[in-house]
């Protein structure tokens, strides 16, 4: 599956490098966004039945299909816990991040 790739953003050096007004090409990710997270979801793949409910309910689209299993993009997961809450098999545990 295509995951968005973080691209290096070269800061403008000249005013002409700025776009015309506050607009830019879509789908340009310049930063990761995992800093909000206090708990991270951890999947027990033996318990997981691959029903894909977590994939459907993830508000940020950071859970993805990964060759017959589910994958979590920890660069962008904010740790909201909806996936763990919705999993019918309790296969996802919210684990406190180490500081």
């Amino acid at each position: 599956m295509n995951r968005p790739v973080k691209q290096h953003f070269k800061r403008p050096e000249h005013i002409d490098d700025y776009p015309l007004g506050p607009q830019y090409e879509a789908g340009h990710l310049a930063e990761t966004n995992a800093g909000w997270r206090t708990y991270r979801p951890v999947v027990d793949h033996d318990t997981c039945i691959n029903c894909l409910r977590c994939y459907l309910v993830c508000p940020d689209g950071t859970i993805f299909k990964d060759n017959g299993q589910i994958g979590i993009d920890y660069d962008y997961c904010k740790g909201c816990g909806v996936c763990a809450h919705e999993c019918p098999k309790d296969a996802i545990e919210m684990v406190k991040e180490e500081l």
């Binding site: 403008p12 005013i15 700025y18 015309l20 007004g21 506050p22 607009q23 830019y24 090409e25 879509a26 789908g27 340009h28």
Partner: protein
């Protein structure tokens, strides 16, 4: 060239200018004294004279939001308002200019509550000079029609891409009638190209639009806007010249001087009062007085060059302000004065504040203004800011 003249009001002249400019989307909310413009436009759409999507919106805030939405997909748009309505859409004005959407809006200059007034003065638009919009003020219905067409060409220019407001004095110009030449559609089509912009959403080049900024970037976007409005000076002057070549009517660009060649005292005007002052200038010239008129057309960008240039040749300048920035001066005077401050030449200056809330400015009052200016040259002490048509005695 076939001429086609109609006896119409200022409001209706604007409607014809809009029809000829072929906007894709019109979204407007009616407010006195702009109502005739938006009503005529809705009739034109209904009767098939104008192919446009006419959106009935529930407020002026929605009107500017809808026009911006349409503009963001590359549509040519039009809206109109006045007074309370203009102020209701103010956050949208900043959105539109910051977002670089070349919307054209007609504003009927009307006083702002409180006290409530439906009558004309210029406080509404002059209070929005900082909103980032180009602002032009027209003298008569012909200029109103012509400037709508010019406005699209200026606003949509690649170096500008900034929304533009065409101002008409409420009632005095919106509701009075004159013979107006209506250009042919083909003539306008040849003059005004289709709207092209890099700043639009499309499937081929998906965009993230109208986003937020950090302290790291906000200033640069504001600088861009500032440069674009300053670049509009040249675009406005060129467009006016080209309009003259194409339609046979031209307005002098940023300003127009009337009988200033050997003038001692000049009055600066904005909007329809210009017409009355022309008459008084002629009358006083008959009596041998060396007086003239500077008609300011654009308030943003500001014709600093023209004001400085004229000031070198005269001895007294008076600014008629149908506006007052409470606690200081009329806004037109503040802008003119800032230009004058950049020259070494000293001249007598006076701000005539009046005509507020629809009060007439009479020829006798204008004559008195010229008298005051001429007396000022010879050293008579006067207040710099004078409410010239108060009807009561004051304590000051």
């Amino acid at each position: 060239m076939k001429t086609n003249k109609l006896f119409i009001s200022g409001d209706e002249a604007v409607a014809h200018g809009v029809r000829l400019s072929r906007p894709h989307v019109i979204a407007a909310y009616p407010i006195t004294p702009q109502t005739i413009t938006v009503e005529r436009l809705s009739e034109m759409v209904e009767q098939g004279e104008l192919e446009s999507t006419y959106m009935h919106v529930e407020s002026e805030h929605s009107a500017i939001s809808a026009t911006m939405g349409a503009s963001s997909v590359g549509a040519r748009t039009f809206t109109a308002s006045s007074s309370q309505g203009l102020l209701y859409m103010v956050e949208g004005l900043h959105y539109a200019s910051g977002g670089r959407y070349p919307i054209v809006m007609m504003n009927a200059n009307r006083s702002v509550a409180l006290p409530w007034s439906i009558y004309g003065d210029q406080r509404d638009s002059l209070s929005q000079l900082d909103s980032g919009w180009i602002q032009v003020y027209v003298e008569d219905a012909q200029e109103a029609l012509d400037m709508i067409i010019q406005a699209y060409k200026i606003a949509e220019h690649a170096k500008v891409l900034t929304p533009m407001m065409v101002n008409l004095d409420g009632f005095i110009l919106t509701h009075t009638y004159e013979m107006v030449e209506i250009p042919e559609q083909e003539q306008v089509d040849q003059f005004l190209p289709a709207f092209e912009t890099p700043n639009k959403m499309c499937f081929e080049q998906p965009k993230n639009m109208a986003f937020s900024s950090q302290p790291d970037d906000n200033t640069e976007f504001k600088y861009q806007q500032h440069v674009a409005v300053m670049d509009a000076i040249e675009v406005a002057e060129t467009t006016d010249r080209e309009f003259g070549e194409h339609f046979g009517r031209t307005y002098g660009g940023m300003t127009e001087e009337y009988r200033c060649e050997d003038a001692d005292a000049v009055l600066v005007t904005l909007g329809s009062i210009t017409g009355t002052v022309r008459v008084v200038v002629d009358q006083l010239r008959e009596k041998g007085l060396k007086v003239g008129l500077l008609k300011i057309r654009y308030m943003r960008p500001f014709p600093e060059k023209q004001v400085i240039d004229l000031s070198q040749r005269i001895k007294a300048i008076g600014v008629i302000d149908k506006d007052i920035s409470f606690g200081y001066e009329g806004t037109i005077f503040t802008n003119v004065n800032s230009a004058l401050a950049k020259t070494e030449h000293s001249l007598f200056k006076k701000n005539f504040v009046g005509g507020l809330g629809g009060r007439d400015i009479t020829k006798a009052e204008i004559e008195k203004m010229f008298t005051d200016l001429l007396e000022g040259i010879t050293g008579k002490q006067q207040e710099t800011v004078e409410f010239f048509n108060l009807k009561v005695a004051t304590n000051g």
